[in-house]
Structures are given as C-alpha cells and as structure tokens.
Symmetry: D3
Subunit: 304 residues, 6 copies
C-alpha cells in the first residue's frame, strides 16, 4: 500500500471518526469488564489494551465508568483458604466467611489491578466499592442463600462526583444492606443499573463471544442490531440462554430505562471499544430502543 | 443537679463550642485511626462512636479525612494462609505474596468496615486506596525488604475532589510505584504527608495512650502542649521512643509543612474528637508551630 | 462532678447540638426583642447576653433578624417634652408631634443601643428603619387615632440584601405610607409579617413570661407545644387575653404563612435562644403547623 | 425659540451628556448634603429636587452615597429639652445627654426625612448610622469636650454591601468608640473619609455658596478648578477660612487618598448635581489631583 | 437666553432623558438605514451624524443593530460593468451576474463604509452578511425572477453573539438558500424580521419623509402615533402606497411578533435617533401594539 | 486487505489520533487559505474538502480561524472594469479606484464564497473584514504606492469574541488607517500577525508546493522540520526566495511571537489539515521555536 494511499485511508478514518468524537464528548459510557473478556490473549496485554482504550476515550471527553466482577479470582482464594461452596437450587450459598473473601478479592485485588493498569497511562482511575456513599443498596434475596443480594436502589452520587471531577470510576460490585452489611450481587446487573442511574449514553458488555446469535450454533447468525422488545422476545422464547441471560436482561432494563444504546462486544478484539465508538463499521451486537433509527444521531455524517 | 443548673451548663458548653464550630467550618482535619485506638471498649462500640464523631464533624462543615492501618487483621489472614514473615534488620520482609494479603486486608476488609460504620449515620464515606489517581506514589526502600516503600510524592487530587463533592475519604495506605506495583508504607507517615498536602488545619492521631509524656513511666508528666522544635528535641534525646516515633516524626513534618496543629489523643475516651475540637478543655498532647499562641485563633472568644 | 463525668456531659450536649446546628445553618430566624424581656436582670447584662446569643447564632451560619419596640423609652421622652397622650377607644392617639418622638426614640435611641450591644461582639449588626427601601408600607387605621397604622405590605428587599451580605438587621418598626409619612405600628405584628415575608424558619418572641398557659393562674399549665389551629381556638375562647393577643395572632399568621415554628420564650433565662435552638430540652411554648411531627426535622438524631 | 432650534439644543445637550453618563455608570459618588444647602428655596422643594437628582443618578447606574449633618435640627431639640450648650475653646462640649439628643435627631429625624424624600421617587434609599457594622470607629478628642470624636477608621462594608445590592445609603455621621459608645463627629470630615474608603469617583459638597473664591469678598474671583496642592496652599495662607475649612481639608484628604474629583457646589441651584455630572459647563469649584488634565477622562468626547 | 436659563433648560432635558436612558439600557434597537435617509445633507456629514448617534446609544447600554440596503450604489456598478436590468412583472430579474454585483456592492462597499464611519467614533462596529452563520436563510421566489428571494428563517445567533460581546452588528441583507447560494432580499423586510427574531425593543426606519400621512399630499396629516391594526387597515385601503409598503408591512409584522415599538423617522433631522429615544417630544410616526398606553413604560416619569 | 487487518489499521490510526485531538481541543489554529492552494483539483471540490476539514476541526473543539487573499479574482474584476495596474519599484500602485475593487472582491465575493462553503457543513462560519472593530489598523507604506499599507496593530477582539461564541471567523485582509480609509495589505503577513495576537497554537499556510526545500530544484531536499532561527538564516542567505518570502517571514515572526508551530503545507493533498493535525506522519514543513523537542507535547503518546 503506497504512502499516499495510506494517507487517504487515514484521512478517511478521521473524517469518519471526528463526528462520533464530537457526538460522544461529555457523555457517560459504562463498560462491564469481565474476566472472560480477557480470553483472547495473555491477561496483562489484554488488560493493558483495555486500559489504553479507557484513557483514550477519556482523553476526548467521554466519561467512562468501569464495572467489574472477578469470579475466577474469588474461586482461587476460596480454594487456598479451604472454603468449600455449598449450592442451593443452583446458586452458591454465600456464608459470612465466603462474603469476606468475595469482598477482599473484588475490592482488594481485582479492583486495584484494573485501577493500576489504567493509571499507568494517566492517573485518572479511582476504585469505588458498592458500599461507598451508599452506591449499591441491596436486600438479601433468600436467607437460605446467605449473603446473596438483589439491588434495592442505586445512589450514583459518588460516581457522578468522581466523573464531575474528571476521574474514571472503577466499581467493584459488592452491595450493602441497610445495616451496612455486605451482599454479593451479579456484576452484569449492577452495570446496567448504574448505567441507568447515570443516564449513560451507552452500556457496553465486553465478553468472549462475537455477539448475540439468533441460532446458538451458527456463527453466521450474528445479530448486529436489534430493538429492545425483539431482544426481550428472544430471551423469552429461549433463544438466549445460560450466562448471557443476566447481560441481556440488564441490557433490556437499561435501554428501557433511558440508556441510548447497549452493546455486547467481543473483548478479545484489540481496541474493540475504539472501533465500536468511532467507526461506522458494526462490531458485535447493538441493542437500540424500539423505533430508533441510524447508528447514532451524529449531527454531521460523512456526506453531510 | 437541678434542671436550671443543667440548662446553665448546657448554655455554657454551647457558648464555648460555637466559636470553635465557626472556626473549623470548611477546614480539613485528617484523623489517623489505628487498631490500638479501639482498646478501651468492644470494637464495634468504639468504631461506632468514632463514626458518629466523624459524621457530626462533617455535619457542621468540617472536612474530615480518615487514614487507617490494619496490622492485626493482616497478621490474622497471613496466619490463615500459612504465610510466615521473615525479618531483616528488625523490619518485616514483604514478599509479593504478603503484599497481596496486605492489600486485600486493608482495601478489601478494614477499609470497607470503617466506611460502612460511618455510612450507617449518613452515606458520606468513600473508600480510597493509595493507588487511586496516583494518590500515594512510593519507591522501594531496599530490595532486601521486598515491597516495603517510602513516600515519593502525594497527589491529593482524588481526596480533594471527594472533599469538594462533600464526601469523607477513608484512605487505606498502600502506595504504588511508577509501574503501578503496590508497596507497603507506614500508615502514620502517610497520614502526616496527606495532611500536609491538603493544607489541613489539624492532624489527629488516635492512640491508646493519654498523650506524650516527658517521663515515660510517670503519668503525671503528660505533655499537654509543646512546640514543634521542642518535640523534635525530645525525639532526638530519646525521651520519645518505640512505636511513637513514626507518629511524632509525622507530626513534626506536618506542622513544619503548614498543618496548624497536630494532636495525639487517647482514642479510648468516648467522643474524644468532639471534646478536642469543640471545648476549651485540653485533651491529650497538642503540637504547635514554634511561636504559636493560644489554643486556636477563634475570631470571637467567650469574653470578646 | 468529676472531670470525666463533665467531659461525658459536654460530649453529650455536643452530640445533641451539632445536628441542630447543621439543621439551622443558612436559615433565617426572626427574634422579637421587647423591653419586657429584660425584666429578669439588670438591663445591660440582659442585653449583653442577648447580643452574645445573636452573634453566636450568626457564627454558625444562622441568619438572625432582630425586631424591636420601645414603649417605655417613648413614654420617657414624651414626659420630658411635656407631651400628653390622649386616648381614643383604649388606643393612644398619635399626633404628628408624638409620631416624631416615637421615630426619634425607636430609630435614634433604642435601635442604636441594640446595634451597639451586638457590635461589641463583632461588627455585624445594622439598624434598619421601616421606611428604608419601602420595608414597611402602612396605611392609616383611623383618622381619629392620628398616625396609627396597619401593615399594607412588607418589601423585605433591604433585609434580605443585608442578610445576603452577611449582616444582622435590627429593625425599628415605624411604617411609611404612600407619601413617605411615618405611621406607628405594633412591633409584634411587624415581627410576624417580616418573618413570613422572609420565609423564616422560626419567629421567636422573647417575653417576660415562661410561655403560654392553658389556665392563666396555674403555672403548671404551661403549654409546651401547640398546633396553630388549637392556638387560634384558645385565642377565640378567651383563654389567651391582654398583651399576649398581638403576639399570638402574629404567631398564628406567621405559621399559617409558612414560618415553620413560632416560639414564645422567657427572655429572662440566660442564653434562652441557644437553649431553644440547640438542645432537645423544651423551653417556653412552641407553635407548630397543624400536623407537624417531632421537634424539628433533623437529618440525624441522637440515635440515628 | 423655534421647535427645530429647541430640538437641536436638546440633541446637543444629549450628545454632550451621554459620554458622561457612560463614564460615570457604575462609579460611586458621595454627596454631602447639609442643612445650608436648602437655603435657596423652601425646604421641601429643595429636598425634593435633591432627592430626584439622586434617583436619576441611580437610574443611569451611578452609585450615590448621601452623607448628612443636621445642626439646626439638633439645636431645636436641645432648646425644647432645655439643654444648654457649654463651650470650651470655641467647641461645644457634648455631654452624654446632648449626645443622646444628637443621635436621636440625626438618626431618628433628619435621616428618615431624607430617606423618605428619596423613596417617594423609588424605594432605593436606606438609612445607615455610623455605628452600623462598625462603619465609623472614632476616638474621643479631649475629655473636656465630652463626646466629641475624631475618626479612627472607616469600615465601609455595610455601605459597599448596600451599594452592591442596588440601594442608596443615606448616612448619619455618629461615630462609635471601641465600647460602642456614640461620639459626635464633623459631618464634612466623615463624608470625605467615606469617599476615600469607597474609592469613590467624586465627593460633592452641596453648600450655600457658589464655590471657593480667591478673594473672599469678590464674587468674580470664583475658583472654577484648582489642583489639590494649590488648594492646600490657599488653606495654609488663610485665604480660606471659617466654616469652609473642614470641607476644604476633607477635599484635600479625599483627593490625595484617591478620590478623582472633589466639588464644592451651590446647592441652591436646581438640579445642580445633574448639571455638574452631565454637562460640559463648569459649576462651582472642582478640586483635581495634581497634574490631572481635562474635565474627566471620557472615552469619547464631542469631537472624538 | 441667559446662562441660568440655559442651565435650567439643560437640567430639564436631562431630567426628561435619564429615565429613558435607564429604560432602554440593555435593550436591542434595530435601525434600518437606507440611502434615501441621507438626502437632507451631504452624504458624509449625514453618515457621520448617524454614526455618532449609534455610538452614543451604545455608550449608554443600548444594543443597536444596523441593517442597510444600497440600491443606488448597485445601479452604479451595474452601469459601469454594462449589465442591463430586465424587468418581469415590475420586478428586476436578478441573474447570477447581477447577484454577484449586488453582493459585492452591499458586503464589499456599502457595509464597510458604514462600519468605518461608526468606528471613527470607537471600534465597535462589525459587518455581518446574511450568509454568516445562517443568519438569513431564504428561498427563491420565482425562477423567472432569478435570484430574488423571500426569507425562510432568521438565525440570529451571530448577531446575538456580537451583541453579547459588546459589538454593533451592521448587516448587509443578502440571503442564502439551502445550498449556500446568494439571494437578493428586500432590506426593509429583513430589518423587521431580524428585530422580531432578536426580541428587539424597537425597530426604527430612517427615511427621507417626515413620517406617515393619513392624506398623502397633506403635510399636516402626519400620523404621530398609530396602533398596529389601524396601520394595517390604512395599508389595506390604499392610503399607504408605493415604497412605504414594505416598511409598513415589516412594521406590522415586527410589532405583531413582539417588537414593542416601530418608528418611521425622518433621517434628515440631525440626531433624530437621540431625539426619538431620549426626549418626550414626538418625532415621525410611532406604531404601537394594539391597546398600548403611554409612550414607553418608564418606571419614573417627570412627575413621578 | 482483510476486514480484520482493516480494523487493526483503523484502531491504530485512532490510537494515534486521539491524543492529538485532546491536545488541540480548545486551541486556536489560524489557516491561511490562498487561491493557489486550490490547484490540485477543480476549485469547488478543493474548497469543499477544505471546508469539511474546518468543520471537523471545529467539531472536536479546535478553534479554526481562516485568513484568505484573492489575487486572481481581483485581477479578473480589474480587467472587466478596464482598470490598468501601474507598477512602481516592482509593486502594484493601488489607487482609490483599485482599492475599491480590491475591497469589493475580497469582502463581497471571495469571503462570502468561503463562508458559504463552510456553512454547507454547519452554520458556523462568519465573515470578518479588517475594518471590523479595528481588527487591522494599518499605515500607508509610501504615498507613491497609493493605498498599500503595513500593519500598525491588530485588535483581535472581534475575532476572539466570535471564537468565544463558537463561530469560525473567515477574515478578508483589508486594513483601515486612523481615518477608517481602506489599505491593501499582504494576506500572508496578516495571517501571521493575527495568529500571534490570538496566541494561536499553530499557523498553517496552505500552498501549492510540498513544503520548503533546502535546494530549490531538488524535490528530495524537502525540509520536514526546521527551527525558527535556522529558517531565518535560509531566508537571509537567499535559499528561500520569491513568493515564499512573506510566508516565511510571517512564520518567523509568528513563532518568535509565541505561536507554537508554523506549517507550510501542500493544499492539494485532500484533508491535508486533518493529516497534519491528527497523525504522526510528517506533512510539509514544520517550523518550531528554537530548542523545541518532539512533534507536539501530547500528554499521552503511543507508548506512554
């Protein structure tokens, strides 16, 4: 490819990207970052690329919020401490001891690791726990499950405050009940609820799949774009199942609650966040409100 | 005591307190909260009283910042994991594995516990780790000691940002080196350095002693007030020794760096923070800049 | 009482007071200060204690407004000038000459005296007359009564302006008619109307009685708390009579007009304003809107 | 004069006036209003014309401050009360009783009268006494003279606050000593000191003479413009004498203290304030800083 | 006329003018300046007097906006270039070549001339063309007429922005269609539409007649004041005809659209803008909304 | 090229561009746009691509200022009007008639054309003439050359005001002398002086050459980067000659006056502005201050 051709390509990508950059500047984008998103490459490299994308988004005025889980790391410490998990109706019973481990791993190990990765590119990331300033108020689901909780309400004041001060909040998803006791909550669900409470522009789930499929086993059946009520129907008829259910339900709730777009992306693609945000090219699955048109409403498209 | 007498007493305490309340409104007060401060009563009650004081200080416009350590809790988890500590020149060698435990305990266990205690009185506390937004940049002291660090520089932006937004930062004292790797740092030293970087009005160390003594074994030799250079002399001639040294050195540095008053208080006294801040009565030891007069410069004294 | 007990008591009073201080900070409190309030002690001492309370209230962010009358002082000058008062239907006829004396005494003698007393504690008090910037527009009640007036409308701009600039307005209650001519108005009525126009938190009448009684001659029948419609009923059935009537009517109108609490307090109790505002203990009589619960809505009580 | 000629004249006056209006908008002008200024016509009419000028000045953005005395009125009440004045070295001894009369007359009679006159044109005037918020702190001159005082310092906060809120302060010139006791001070001196403390554009003395003369008995020797050091020389060599001395001394001090222009005008000329401020025509005597050129620095003159 | 009489006259004119100055300060006044307004004197002098009035209006806080045409100058350049005008139904056909000439003359000759005249009195005038920031969006009226356009919509952002920055916009009345192509539009119509879009206080048409007449040939039938619906009736019944029609229609539309007053003035009278704005004397014809009373609502009239 | 490779390329270009976008957001970039820059393609397309770049720059927060000349268009109208140019010492003598033509063409033809081109992408461009608000004050160079001028001083208030309001100023380079008479000034010189007066980040000259060469006839001798004093030396020793001299002199003066970078770019390259601003790739010649390092100081480079 000649230098001149390369220049033309670069110019074209910029002409395409700049209106998106303008469009998203000042908007909040919540990114759910899960352990499985790291599958495509060695963990450090994937985390570093992700961290770079977050800093680049921030550099052009986007307000990213990172929400993370940490299942594998939790299991690892439970093993080392010889704590065995009991299951009840398919769900892990979280006793007090297990809860302490969950909290230590999420807030004391995974969270600082993501914060540190981002801060090597610029000191902007700040760890936030669900108990901070009443961020995630939760209620116990079922005494037999122990410290498993459901979201009661989100108080986004601390997250909004950090965004207003120019920081990137990185949130570990421990909830607190009315007495301040910790409860374990599904991280996907938390991500959607926080996006909704912040009036976010987008919620993006980074996963280890290409996106949603209309036929589970058929790679060619990737859904590139779907309206929220159609997605709810797919969930209802069983097309979508397994681990995708909490993500899909959270997408549905977030978009119904005012988030403009939800995305399920393949976190293994390098710089997938930049590609999704700043190019016309479709990546993964986009969930839109019913009746939405176009990709996003840029005020100036390529031909404008 | 008659009701009338009681009213007169209450009025007198208020007449005494209100000028201090005015004086400290809007000022930053850093409180170092250590495990030993809890000794006088059951842990939960002491923590709860402390938490209430923090919320009351906040309620009248003071900006409290809590800095904590967590030695006993760290030892407990190290034991459970079967990790043994090696010592080198009297200092514990902190290998990578130990460092992870320190971080998990401080940021994932002690910090959320203090945050939760405060937030039962009002959702204002937010946990902060040393790695957040470059708060505590540190350098390794000696490769033979492993991950033991010294403060390189404090970037108080995230703490100041949270204060500006009306929150109470609760800081766990893990530092990060230039690569984002965690380093273990003395919590007393961190408290002083943060107070200095914030231009705090006061740094208060809550301990399990009444205050500094001019004769170690003589309870009647309690030092109620001392100028910073006199205190430095006491440290130099060995009058002050042992675990008080880092506190005293931090006091000296903080006051020389612009903090107006440093205090070493007995954390076992209920509501000791309120008594120190809002009454004329002396509590513990107060360290003042050289040449300072009066307790604090209130703009309106009782007789003014 | 031991020092330790004393400390505990002081701490308890502070724990009780701080939420009230937070609660009232930034709120406007109108205090009607009448000559009879001074009865319990020598005039200067009582005025000085009152002045100190006003300055202390101001020091913690409350915006006090003082409204005063001056009956005895007016009578004294009338006597010296040999002016005799004629009465008509029980009311003193205020001819032009008498009106000049009233104005000179209120604005030129009593008002500067109160201002000076406050300003010995801090230069914050500013005298305001009813004619300033149209504060008290009045209409003549009855030509036969001469220059006796009723309030037409209150323009609180100058009072609000002084509050916004951080001053304490001290108001003498002369009204002005449309031509700028002075009219004599009941000071209790003015105090209530100004509280209403300012959207005050409280109106406090300092008197020389303990409070309202349900049986005039029975000291044990003190009414500590009463709803505004119940109070109106007591006034209607004659339980309340004499000089208390204008105060009570003004309380009723002010509370119906949005002032949150009205109080009738015994000005002879030293620091009665501080006791009323900052302690849980009841003092005098409190008039609340119908249906109001609790003392005040503090956001954090003792047990919270 | 034809209508067309009249139009041309009106246009010419406006062309002349508008740059001055622009020039003085937002500037503070202190006007000393004395009893003798009223001599040319019946008192009410003169006061009304003066009041109208003040309101018109205010209407185009000038910030007028009125300072007044009240000698004749004080004498009148002293007479009525049978209080005789003793003199000591040519100065009236002001005992406590006399001081009370001075204060009542100035703050309770003359001040409300001027305030009322202005407020018939718009509710903007607010009376201010020297004791308000420490405006005029004074010291006793000589115990033998009783309550005669000299200015110790001016605290213009209350005057500036009222100006900032859009009001016109009308100041009675009673000072207060450190204990809050009233002292009698020369009103001309106070006017100059207040102008200086406010950084006023102009201080204007309204008198009953045309202006200063270089020969006392020669009307044709009117001084239209003089530099401050030349004026000081005239005072030193006795050319200026009698009642003009305090005015002249105050002019000298104010101009040396930064006030841009001082004026001694004939208050008997209707609308003399407007003529002085907004026309090219010289009125009375103007005192300028040494070296000042032109009338005022308008940014756009007639020929610009 | 004696000097004293002259002073009284000057004072009276100022007393009359100041309330208007206050009234109009901060308000927007659109002035349509046409070539014919220059007829009464040599062009340069008339332009210079006009320019001075604009600067004086600006100096007292009015926000003038100048809109101009340029018929004679256009004809002159068309002649020099040998371009002949074709007419169609009484209207000049504007081909592309003619349009270029119109644009060059208006934006490149007349506009800079007016801007320069104003800027000799102070650098405040800024030329604006209809194509700037979409100010005048137009649509072609009839293909047979070529580039003749009608207003589609006014976007006053650039004019408002310049006013907010303290400049005086001088607008040449070329419109632009959706493709950015220039269209020729009646300048009177543009002036009215801009006044409406800015929420102007007044629209003033400077012409070479005294004002509107109820009988075309009878100078004594000058209409000094007329309500907008009465004016519309006069236009409908043919009383008003010829070149006045676009002015009158624009007046009607502007006043119906919220502009408070429209004026048709004789631009040959020196300083006619000042006379109209700042004196009680009527000049030319004033069009008011139906039901309007008084000249303008000054908050303080002569007798107030 | 595979889709995946294409994605990687796009991601890489974005990773490269985003820090520049952040770096330049809020900064002013002056672009000199000359007729010769259009040579590489049909005029309309080139102008349209240029206009699109300006709008895209604006969309990401850059504040572009366009300065233009118009030599060929001026010559064309002079020819049509039969005006012949006389030369004196190699410079065209600009008589009054020629000056009028220059002004009409620049402000009435070329300027609206560029404004219209930009405004088809968004209504942000506003034409500005040198006479607007005293933007370009000039002095006559030599009476024999007629209306040829040199810059006396730049008053950028109107340009800064338009930038502050979010508009893109498009400046035609006619100067005005003290009397408001137009003077013809070199457009390259004006561009540099305006960049300096605005404290611009960059001045970019769009030309029809690739950049500066160290050997005029050797395309391989293109200078990619040069310090300002080295460039001044090249101009002094004759390496740079002809039409490049005013550009080079303006670059030198602008960079010495605080503009951070000057660029001479080939305007025939599509989107050359975007390539220069947002890619690492060097385009044309960059002039830096002496001692400057790196391309620009981005706060986060690729490897950071």
């Amino acid at each position: 490819m000649s230098a001149r051709q390369s220049s033309l390509d670069a110019a074209q990508i910029l002409v395409e990207a700049l209106p998106y950059i303008r469009r998203f500047s000042g908007r909040t984008v919540v990114v759910k970052y899960g352990g499985n998103a790291l599958a495509g490459s060695s963990e450090d490299d994937a985390l570093s690329l992700f961290a770079q994308d977050i800093v680049l988004m921030h550099s052009v005025g986007i307000k990213p919020v990172v929400v993370h889980g940490g299942g594998p790391q939790i299991n690892s410490l439970l093993d080392r401490l010889g704590l065995k998990s009991e299951f009840h109706g398919g769900l892990r019973v979280t006793d007090d001891e297990t809860m302490k481990v969950v909290q230590m791993v999420l807030s004391g190990q995974v969270n600082p690791q993501i914060v540190a990765a981002i801060n090597t590119f610029g000191n902007i990331a700040v760890g936030v726990a669900g108990g901070d300033a009443g961020l995630i108020r939760a209620v116990q689901r079922d005494p037999q499950l122990g410290r498993v909780g459901d979201i009661d309400r989100i108080n986004p004041a601390v997250v909004q405050g950090l965004l207003d001060e120019g920081f990137v909040p990185v949130i570990s998803t421990i909830g607190a009940d009315a007495k301040g006791e910790a409860l374990n909550i599904n991280a996907d669900t938390v991500a959607g609820a926080i996006a909704e409470s912040l009036g976010a522009e987008k919620i993006i789930y980074l996963t280890d799949i290409e996106g949603l499929r209309s036929k589970v086993d058929d790679a060619s059946s990737l859904i590139q774009r779907i309206q929220v009520s159609d997605l709810a129907a797919l969930a209802a008829d069983g097309t979508i199942a397994g681990g995708m259910i909490p993500k899909v339900q959270s997408c549905v709730q977030a978009v119904k609650g005012g988030v403009k777009r939800a995305h399920i992306l393949d976190g293994r693609i390098p710089h997938v966040l930049l590609l999704e945000l700043f190019t016309d090219e479709g990546v993964g699955t986009m969930i839109t409100p019913d009746g939405a048109r176009g990709n996003v409403e840029t005020t100036m498209g390529k031909g404008a």
